[in-house]
Amino acid sequence: MIDIVLTDLPIDISACISRVMTPSAGGVDVFIGTVRDVTKGRKVIRLDFEAYEPMAISEMKKIAERAMKEWPLHKIVLHHRTGTLEVGEVPVVIAVSAAHRDAAFTACRYIIDTLKQTVPIWKKEIFEDGEVWVSATP
């Protein structure tokens, strides 16, 4: 089972975890991204997330499908936020269940690493004294 959501509403972490739990699973790995208060020494006020929605959903699906093929997994939930997030809020939740923990850990790590490389979502960091699109310029 693969469950992909891109939403401007808060992500329900417990619901994500419940969705991947199943009697045939022995382990669940969950990654929760959180908005950090400081980047490179500068105080962050909030983040604005923008997505190219149809392509972002399609790329998230591709990543989950590749993970399902690569490792013996049961279920994958991948939810990502758009819009404005305050410090401490959750831009992304990835939950992966598998019979054995090795597959769950490896796949969860693969999904977040690949998402950060290929999924068309952009974040703008808003500081007290300016703002910047992350990674956009050298």
């Binding site: 991204g33 997330f49 923008e50 997505a51 190219y52 149809p54 392509m55 972002a56 399609s58 990502h80 831009p91 992304v92 977040i112 998402l115 950060k116 490389q117 290929t118 999924v119 068309p120 979502i121 952009w122 974040k123 703008k124 699109w133 992350v134 990674s135 956009a136 310029t137 050298p138």
Partner: protein
């Protein structure tokens, strides 16, 4: 032919709009379109990098463009 180009993130700031239109000849490619855009918007060439998506898929420079295509400029992504 007219090609509509969607822009996201910093590309939207560079174009000053969420989308623009460019005039291309039949037989022109993603690579041709990149050169044309970079000539018009010099800040585009100063990005760390950027990709082009055609119909929701990453496209290489050789890909031919058609009037019906949904084209998008994908500056370095930063989700998660």
């Amino acid at each position: 032919m007219k090609i509509k180009i969607l822009a996201f993130g910093i590309a939207k700031d560079i174009f000053g709009a969420p989308g623009i239109e460019v005039e291309l000849q039949h037989g022109q490619t993603v690579g041709d379109m990149r050169l044309l855009l970079e000539a018009k918007f010099s800040r585009l060439a100063s990005l760390s990098s950027y990709m082009v998506a055609v119909n929701n898929e990453y496209a290489d420079r050789q890909q031919l463009l058609q009037e019906v295509d949904e084209v998008a400029i994908i500056p370095p992504v930063s989700g998660g």
